[in-house]
Symmetry: D2
Subunit: 340 residues, 4 copies
């Protein structure tokens, strides 16, 4: 940490800060400058809370330097984590992970029709919500366990790995029974009880970025899961909330290189929620892959205009098939670029 | 809902939209304009999902008109709700509700020292976290049930009503045993499982606005609680996340008149989290009261520089005492202004 | 500045950074920590550009410490600036500065009717645009010089000081001829040519905060004006752009204490643009004064529903009269609180 | 426009709105619904200002439907505009437009070294600021006319077209003398005087999106230029301001498909300002091209660590060469995808 004193701070005020730093068990390094003194603090193992210093007399600012995460860092593991799913699939490896399916499982017929098509187009993972977090209490909330059973059947029928959301501890129990990857949604990114429960699961966790989460908050949410022992975390950028009105969310693709620079965890992109509009999904999916994403999670529906939720952003089966061809070609082009 | 057709939409495309609207059981009103046709939809009881129409050929835009909430509205109850707490206290009535205490309960001695002082200054409610949602898994997470027991003792000793946060179902059970008002934090505003559990509680709910929640999302979170039968909801504005860096959050006081225009629920202001800096708390607390807030929830600490969390924003006991005098004077001045 | 090295930075990389710092003429202070080395830089007169260091091998982060402004600071002038306007009026003194009038001057009759009323209610300053910055090229752009002449007549007739916007050098010339305070609008806050021209004017400058300006950018815009010799700058908070949709802008009242802590310049609040809705103006105006604002600039119209621009946010003459009574009462209550 | 009445609006209030609409010369269509009445307005040529209605008794909301732009729309010109530059170059055609060069022209030697290299890598346009808009008045402000002369020499020497910024009318005069494309920077996107002057120029205008500009505001800024007669406008997405801290700005690539859906104007991407960090530029540049951008404007420097401005985001000459190879390969892959 660095404490910057006011330009008119007195000797006494500087002494007081030095003494408090020492009391806390750290080393203080006074750095007199042309107009003001700064005090660097070392010797701390973790991050020091700047709020201890901010209101002391003579202090202008307290700046945090050490980051509070450990397990997610390249310091701990310099190579990218490849998350194995169900024995024969992976996210974070050389192959682009293709996750596709409806926003919500609506019926057996609907889910099977979509699963058959996305499997044929090349997807290895099937997404579909059985428990839906809806802004309104009066909106369709998902089929619950019945939906999970349909998903389990799809795994049997098509060999697709099942990625599906849990909203609470009970939901985690259920997904553990029927699914392959537990999704933690954006609205639950800082539901710390749920993160801890996910950290005790044997299944990988797909952790969506919160609607207005900073990079540090997102990585610390992953750290919560890992701190409980579950190292199989996949980060998912799904757009953040901004003033912009032409999209539902603003997809922040710079999160991909930003995560890469700090963390070994793989990152997938959700251009469906990240834009909210059908016509934007393919361009942004291509962009995500060109930017170095490890995979794409995309909403696909056989009849988007009749979907029970989020129909406007779902791709048709044909659109998805074409998109897969495009993103695979881009992935091939950039493969050498992103190795280094 | 209003569907706006593209200026080059064909007759056939317009016919198709009209026919789909009728299929859904609604009435369609075509409105030919100078450059384009719009189609108004009526006959729907609740909100219609615009996504059903957005991708149809010839459609430029689908605009939602009906709001999806009911129970929170002035249509349902035209007068402001006065939430009774524990028989002899209230939030939303004529008296300004003063809620004060430390960020976290750290020890019996600390909590009692603060409680004694804020009671003397005029507070009727004591805040203090036993379960703390912390961004980092390695930060102090609260004393748990031990903290709740200290809070219950404070109620006995000083007659203060206890406002404290629950992070999950287990936490709600515990607060029901020891506290008076259950706080749902900003990070859990869209933890729909938790909202439903809170809706089945006999205690009032203080519902903080999410870090980037729109007004509608916040009101719908309250609707989740009320839809389960608990009508005693207090809204709490605690600042939203913006690009600004001089504050921890940007306190959005316009939320007060905005809520008033739509809802009967009372609104309190949290200038501590809403600013994050000690020197901003008093000015923004005064501003909140001048803007018509029903109460203030403020962090107070006997030794802010030694607080285990959020010390930078806590008021000292003396600062709090002075603030109460100021806000009461302002409340008196504006009382006639806000009656109408 | 503080340079934080990566935890795996080599001795050689650290040496290289130290050597570059010395080459730039500064002193480097290496601070070896538990997990990584930081390097503090002193000896710089102004701010050092962190970008010189950010991409050097082994560097994790470069953190700016010294702020680049001088003239606006309390270091330079510890007491608040009182901006004198036209001999017998002031902004920043003990009296609350009341600036009121229509968004745009629309006609002589309209402007006189409003001026007469706001003068009677207690305003000392009259606002009204002759040059209007409009988002659409097809919207009403103001009456130009004809509007300024009407404003000059109003000064004669009612003794009100004229606050009006200039959009370019020519506009500054014109306002210098007819007005008393030159307003620089939010959209021009970083129009550096215009700021320099304003800095060479003999009239005070009311500088609105940009739609997404940080505190530092806003203060540096004032620094641009002052660097040319014009020290009479009044800052005006008028709301910033956020994701929120219940207001046109989010009024950031925390800017008042934030400016106070750094700068001697007075701050006025614009709750009209800061909210965009008539029913929010009075509560937020009261809040601004309770927060310590030096004045209020408010849109008032005799027939808001017929206004040529921004009618939705204008107060009626009666609403303004009532508001003045309220804010004066609040100003009296908090006067002792804000002296210190 | 659509006016939504409150659920308790009286017959009389509805009549009053209908009568005001007719007075304004429009047609009103009352649409009684299950819980409330809406009133659609048609017959207006341009957009109707919702603020005329918002405060009328009984009105809940007034929703704008018609967009206020004309010249930028696909309605006016259904095919993408190809902006011809200096006879033998173009932006918006089949070839990806590659614009590269230093943030600021610092010296003849620097500019020539960079120009020679980017020309060899494949760039057809050279960027470099002679007039620099700097946040601080004390930062390097560019070489002015001397810089423009160097740029003109580079055009002669390498056949590169010159893209350079003008900050005011005088700057436009100067760039018209020495350059090929006039850049309007993000901070001037709503400097309407400057936009009008640019609209009277014979040179194409590269119009950067403002820091927090909505899509509509950006397109209307282009409309300002076109309304004066200059139809050669190139839009440039350069990132917007959000809460995110891992980037200088958040690059909003969804702006590309959003513009495409409404406008015929070409769009280029600036990943240098859009990210602010060297290591993010290549991934985001690839993403921009994959998303369908018509070109890239990128900062390149022969000695980034010694750049006088924005060194942290500049690519080295080698990095740029490699990037061009990557983006060309991606452009080839997606060419068929973006034709439709």
């Amino acid at each position: 940490m660095l404490i910057v004193m006011k330009s008119d701070a007195t000797e006494r005020e500087i002494e007081d800060v030095l003494s408090i730093v020492k009391d806390l068990g750290f080393r203080a390094h006074p750095l007199p400058g042309a107009t003001r003194t700064a005090i660097a603090i070392t010797g701390n193992q973790g991050a020091v809370d700047p709020t201890h210093f901010e209101n002391l007399p003579g202090v202008a600012e307290a700046i945090r330097v050490t980051k509070p995460y450990k397990l997610i860092t390249l310091d701990l593991r310099p190579e990218k984590t490849v998350v194995r799913v169900g024995g024969d699939a992976a996210i974070g490896g050389e192959e682009l992970a293709l996750i596709a399916g409806p926003c919500a499982v609506e019926s057996r017929a609907q889910a099977f029709a979509i699963a058959e098509a996305v499997r044929r187009s090349g997807a290895r993972f099937f997404r579909g919500g059985a428990f839906k977090p809806r802004t309104s209490p009066y909106a369709f909330q998902g089929l619950g366990e019945e939906g999970l059973k349909i998903l389990a059947e799809i795994r049997e029928a098509y060999g697709l790995k099942i990625v599906t959301e849990a909203l609470d501890d009970h939901g985690v129990d259920m997904v553990e029974r029927y699914g392959d990857v537990i999704q933690i949604g954006a609205r639950n990114m800082q539901n710390f009880s749920l993160l801890r429960r996910a950290g005790r699961s044997h299944l990988p966790i797909l952790l969506k970025r919160g609607l207005s989460a900073t990079l540090d908050e997102w990585l610390l949410a992953a750290e919560y899961v890992m701190a409980e022992g579950n190292y199989n975390v996949i980060l998912c950028e799904r757009g953040v909330r901004t003033f912009a009105q032409h999209t539902r969310n603003t997809l922040d693709l710079a999160a991909i290189p930003a995560v890469r620079r700090i963390s070994h965890l793989p990152v997938v992109i959700d251009p469906s929620h990240g834009t909210g509009h059908n016509y934007m999904v393919a361009p942004l999916a291509r962009a995500g892959v060109a930017c170095g994403a490890d995979g794409l999670i995309i909403e696909v529906h056989d009849q988007p205009e009749r979907a029970l939720s989020d129909g406007a952003q779902a791709l048709t089966l044909e659109q998805y098939e074409q998109l897969v061809a495009e993103v695979r070609a881009i992935h091939e082009v950039i493969a050498p670029a992103t190795v280094g």
